[in-house]
């Protein structure tokens, strides 16, 4: 169908609706994305960090210092030409460690979301679709998990184990599914009475088919937006856990851990705190901007923040 412009008068503004094909629609979303400075900024920040993280060994001057390493001659060096971010208490280059720290943060986000999102979405679909007792039980469970702030719950769970990064990730993942479960549940509930779902039922589609063919695609944009925003938040919680000593353990270069150690040396060795802090802020901000831009672009009203 050719593009036709139709101007309709509503209120005192004019809306322009275009009739277009699917390809046009994707193109149009992309166009809006491109024009939205916020999503662009967010996207570029995130991709920049991902790039750095992937190519960390190649972009950092001292990749070997990301692990256990000591250079006691060079401890506590302020930022200089050879060490852009200075060196830490055992002489390691902070810049290198920050970039490798990005690796850890991104991996954490990926693992946590990779586990919790599918699980949460699945439970959300089931509970929303089948309703009844199943739904009540699942929703009550999510209520309990959501009764405590994420960080606190993660703390409580981490308390049960010896602190390592893996345990921290599992702990966060075990809470995180609840958000997605609720989101998908809400969407499913509102769609399941819609005509196209009824139509599928009439045709005789199995429940599974209906869930995947009819309902899930409608949740897709909301989930996408939420995942992007979640990434930032998961990284925040992860950094918090590391800061408290429960996440990434030394000598691994977790950003939160670095800040924690650096804090003891304020204000004289400020670079130990400031650079990792900025780095983590940059990444979280990027995800937030990106998620926000996606939300605008996809016209999604997501639940909560």
């Amino acid at each position: 169908m050719k593009n036709k412009n139709r101007i309709s008068l509503s209120d005192d503004s004019i809306t322009v609706t275009r009739w277009m094909s699917f390809k046009d629609r994707v193109g149009r979303s992309w166009y809006r994305f491109r024009r939205n400075p916020i999503s662009l900024a967010g996207a570029s920040m995130v991709f920049f960090v991902i790039f750095l993280a992937i190519f960390a060994p190649y972009v950092t001057p001292y990749p070997e210092q990301a692990r256990a390493f000591t250079d006691l001659e060079n401890t506590f060096q302020p930022p200089s030409r050879s060490h852009w971010f200075g060196t830490d208490e055992v002489g390691r280059d902070v810049f290198t460690r920050v970039i490798f720290g990005y690796r850890i943060s991104l991996m954490m986000a990926a693992v946590v979301l990779g586990i919790s999102v599918p699980f949460g979405v699945m439970l959300g679909l089931i509970s929303g679709y089948f309703g009844g007792r199943i739904e009540t039980i699942i929703m009550r469970i999510t209520d309990v998990f959501l009764a405590l702030p994420a960080l606190v719950m993660a703390l409580a769970i981490c308390a049960a184990f010896t602190p390592t990064v893996e345990k921290a990730m599992l702990a966060v993942a075990s809470i995180w599914w609840t958000w997605h479960c609720r989101l998908v549940n809400a969407i499913t509930r509102s769609i399941k009475t819609e005509e196209f779902v009824q139509a599928s039922k009439v045709i005789g589609d199995s429940h599974l088919r209906i869930l995947f063919k009819d309902i899930l695609p409608n949740c897709a944009s909301a989930i996408m937006v939420k995942v992007t925003l979640d990434a930032g938040f998961v990284i925040l919680v992860g950094a918090g856990l590391s800061f408290l000593g429960l996440g990434v353990q030394p000598p691994k270069p977790g950003l939160g851990t670095m800040i924690s150690y650096g804090a003891a040396h304020l204000p004289t060795k400020w670079w130990l705190t400031v650079f990792p802090s900025f780095a983590i802020f940059f990444l979280i901000l990027g995800f937030n901007l990106l998620g926000d831009g996606l939300r605008d672009m996809l016209d999604v009203e997501s639940e909560g923040i």
Binding site: N5, I7, S8, L9, D12, S13, I14
Partner: protein
């Protein structure tokens, strides 16, 4: 004042500056409502009726809207030259409005009574002709207004929230709010279209009665021709921002002259007769790339070369029937 007209719009142009360019919505719209008259303003959705109404009420946001040309007089006063303050004074008191969708027009977090009382209190203040009403007086007036619109148990309704009422009751409450301050001019924007047809009929009956009792001038805006026929004395037909025909209602319905009007009336399905209603071929025009001349010409089956060059003047046919169409110029009518 001795002005015979309640509302007079002369040659109004309204443009909107939007992203794609300038949308020339209204083109030389002229109409008038005499005092005590009930005038209909009909046209399909998107033809500019609401924009016209908003221009009259001073509700257009001036950027992006531009009024390059035209005058609007309300009881002799130039609306376009009024300050916001003056406009606010006459809104609700001399000129009032009934909205299309009562659910959207009522604030959901306040009771009906509260909103109604606010309208009463501020009108008094705006009028500055009387002293402020006491609480009891406001209350009494509110109850009286609710009774007048035939709401059962006004005491209870007063304490209800909009969500708790049915659509018909909300519309009545809205009418009460519009009429409580005894305006001399009422603009009704598609009253009852958001409601069930039967309820709409009730609302329209109520409205007719109230209007008749109070001798208010009314401008009824709608796309529903049946409503026009039932409740108005004179009607304007609008297409794409241009007024194309106007006549006393009975005259127009008996003998529509403009091709668009004819098409419109033909497209109303008849319950009897076994004919299939015809639509009018084509689509609503693009306001950005407007056509010269008569805006209906691309869809008109009687189109002539001159139609695309110059806008047709109004030709008067018989008594008070004016058509803007080249079919009728030089055909024995008087050109305006």
């Amino acid at each position: 004042m001795g002005d015979p007209y309640m509302l007079e719009i002369r040659n109004l142009d309204v443009h909107f500056r939007i992203y794609e360019g300038i949308s020339r919505v209204l083109d030389g719209v002229s109409l008038y409502v005499a005092k005590g008259e009930r005038v209909g303003f009909a046209g399909e959705t998107g033809c500019g009726k609401t924009v016209t109404m908003k221009a009259v009420m001073g509700m257009l946001k001036i950027p992006p809207a531009i009024i390059p040309h035209g005058e609007i007089f309300l009881d002799g006063r130039d609306v376009l030259k009024m300050s916001q303050r003056e406009l606010q004074r006459i809104k609700g008191t001399e000129i009032s409005m009934i909205f299309q969708d009562p659910m959207n027009a009522l604030n959901p977090v306040f009771t009906i009574g509260e909103q109604l009382c606010d309208v009463i209190r501020f009108a008094r203040r705006n009028r500055s002709s009387g002293v402020n009403l006491s609480k009891k007086e406001v209350y009494d007036k509110a109850i009286a207004a609710l009774e007048e619109v035939r709401l059962p148990d006004p005491e209870r309704i007063k304490n209800n929230y909009p969500l708790e009422l049915s659509g018909g009751m909300r519309q009545r409450a809205l009418i009460a709010m519009a009429l409580v301050n005894e305006p001399s001019f009422l603009i009704a924007d598609e009253p009852g279209t958001a409601l069930d047809v039967t309820i709409q009929a009730q609302i329209l009956d109520l409205l007719s009665e109230l209007v008749k009792n109070r001798r208010i001038s009314v401008l009824l805006i709608t796309h529903n021709l049946g409503v026009i026929q039932e409740t108005t004395e004179r009607v304007y037909i609008m297409y794409a921002g241009q007024v194309v025909e106007t006549a006393p209602t009975a005259v127009l319905f008996n003998n529509p002259r403009h091709p668009y009007t004819q098409g419109l009336l033909a497209s109303v399905p008849r319950l009897t007769g076994g004919q299939i209603a015809e639509g009018i071929p084509g689509t609503v025009p693009d306001y950005i790339n407007t056509h010269f001349g008569c805006r209906f010409h691309p869809r008109c089956s009687h189109v002539m070369p001159i139609c695309s060059q110059k806008k047709p003047p109004f030709t008067m046919l018989e008594t008070s029937q004016y058509v803007a169409c080249y079919l009728y110029t030089n055909k024995g009518g008087q050109n305006e």
